[in-house]
């Protein structure tokens, strides 16, 4: 096989587009989990975002409107989730799963009227001169706007969580909500904001799929990406920049599986397709072994908080 540099760039572009929805959803979930809330409803929120995003974009003939619809839909789902887990302090695992099941059904119902319709794909950046550079032109200067936004989101989240007071407060809430509460920190309000942010990101990631990745709606089009995003968060040790690396890795493995076939590598496709999941488990084990204290997750993750009067 000839190592044509142009080919390599093309493959990398594919990897980046595959990684983008994973990254966006993961960043949202990182913030939510850092605040102590485990949102297993990510898949449901993503697919609702995909359906609503496409519907909105089609009806208003505007990608931007579609994106906003997707984000709002994700936030709406997150609001229900927040009411259950923060307002009623129900079990977060069950509530998350309920949102996923509910989301899948609702999304397919919303999308049913839009099957077989297509839109223009979301616009790509184009800077004359820069975007035409060989090798790196398309890679760095020719992506669609979601990609750049995802990177900005990562940077913003990382900065916010580590350098700002509100970010550190959120992390404190995730580590120990009881102490936070006794210090007068509004635990549930912070978690509410975090969950809404997470839902909005999930909705945005979903709308990316139906507006840019394959610009049409089809039932169940998220195909489990929400679950991969959840794995990605742990893989990244709840750190945004690591999530970016992990998203590229996960996206890359999937694309690699496809590319390998062209090269005639005789590894069964199912084995290649299972690599993201096996890798996640391996990384989880590795991180636990390395940090024997075991406390790498936010300590209050998944624990319901009921403020005493």
């Amino acid at each position: 096989m000839n190592f044509d540099p142009q080919q390599i760039q093309d493959i990398l572009v594919i990897v980046i587009t595959a990684a983008t929805p994973l990254l966006i959803a993961a960043i949202g979930e990182v913030v939510a989990e850092r605040a102590g809330v485990l949102n297993l409803g990510l898949e449901g929120m993503m697919i609702v975002g995909a359906a609503t995003g496409f519907a909105g974009a089609y009806l208003a003939n505007s990608t931007l409107v579609g994106v906003l619809c997707g984000i709002l839909a994700g936030c709406a789902m997150a609001a229900i989730f927040a009411f259950l887990t923060l307002g009623l302090a129900t079990n977060q695992v069950a509530a998350g799963l309920a949102m996923t099941i509910f989301g899948r059904g609702v999304a397919n119902l919303i999308g049913a009227g839009f099957v077989g319709l297509k839109r223009q794909a979301a616009p790509h950046l184009y800077i004359p001169g820069l975007s035409d550079l060989p090798l790196i032109g398309k890679l760095i200067f020719g992506q669609d706007y979601f990609v750049y936004f995802a990177v900005l989101l990562t940077a913003a989240a990382s900065y916010w969580l580590t350098r700002t007071r509100s970010g550190l407060t959120l992390r404190a809430v995730g580590e120990n909500h009881t102490s936070g509460h006794s210090l007068g920190v509004p635990v549930r309000a912070i978690r509410l904001m975090a969950v809404l942010f997470g839902g909005g990101c999930a909705g945005l990631a979903g709308s990316y799929l139906s507006l840019a990745y394959t610009p049409f709606w089809s039932p169940d089009m998220t195909a489990g990406r929400g679950w991969i995003a959840l794995a990605l968060v742990v893989f990244a040790s709840w750190r945004p920049w690591r999530a970016l690396g992990g998203a590229l890795l996960f996206g890359g493995v999937a694309v690699l599986a496809l590319a390998f076939q062209g090269l005639g590598v005789p590894i069964p496709a199912q084995l290649l397709n299972s690599l993201p999941y096996l890798t996640t488990i391996a990384v989880l084990v590795f991180l636990s072994v390395r940090d024997r204290r075991g406390a790498i997750a936010p300590a209050s993750l998944g624990v319901a908080f009921i403020p005493d009067r």
């Binding site: 509530a95 059904g105 609702v106 119902l109 075991g294």
Partner: protein, 362 residues
Amino acid sequence: MRIDLEARAQRSTLREILAPVGAMIVAIIIGGIVVSLMGISPIAAGNVYFIEPLSQSYSLQAIAVKATPLVLIAVGLTFCYRANLWNIGAEGQFIAGGALGGWLGLLTNGGAMQDTLGGWWILPAMLIMGALGGVLYGLIPALLRIKLNVSEILTSLMLVYVAQLGLDWLVRGPWKDPAGHNLPVSVNFDPEATLPILFDGGSLHLGVLLAPIVVIIAAIVFSKTLFGFQVRLVGSSPRAARFGGFNDSTIAIAAFAISGGLAGLAGVIEVSGKIGQLIPSISPGYGFSAIIVAFLGRLHPVGALIAGLVLALTFVGGEDAQIALHLPGDMTLAFQGVLLICVLAADVLARYRLKFSMGAAA
């Protein structure tokens, strides 16, 4: 504006049992509103979804057959969830059990072994192998959790995909029926390897009887044995459990073994009772639906039985609704999601009162 939960002065068992019923009613009302917005009479929909399936023998049988894997898995999950062990991978354990048990069916196919040893032992052995497969697969997240404190939620979930891909590879590769035109199915199991149908012309197979037996045993273990007490204590009061000298690790292993084993048993029952061969996909999401069942049943074995039947009813009724009213199949999914949401809410409201007050949110 803030919402506060205030514990109710008296815990009422009646209220706690009625809570899921209330949730069901609310969910049905919501469903009725949506359906009427779609231009279909909610009464007709309610009739087709809930009443009709209960009025005919064959659909009652279909409900029982559909409920069997749900109940078996959910009973197992009850043990895990009560101990605060979030086994999300029951789907994977189901597949592992179905595969391992089904493998025995493939090995003994063709009657060679039956000639020398007789065929009576095959089915029980398959059921045991199936349970064993589930146990082994369920122990992976358990051990990772105990030894390395790795989140069992993620490991069990990731393993679901691994199991699905593994079975897919097996059925398309080494286990493919050589006489099957290169199509991805295994040979059909011999009659000795298939759970017999109970009534001629019906669809109830022997595996259906196992569910209530398991429920009874589980209920006894759950409420009357020391182990059951340990499981419940570890979940509600981990510190008290430790003071009592109960070993976290042993309980975790046991809980996952039970949960995995029951899921695996459900898998092999499905494969040998309903499907009769191995195919790439042996579960339409039972492992995940069972999670709803477990919560709907308020994490109690008997509750799981009732909840499993209710959920199976919605599946069968949903199909009827597609046929009779041309309601989209996705409505069933959405309804199940709404039902779970209502149940979770009702569960809390049975024990706490909601207080709204103006003031800083906590």
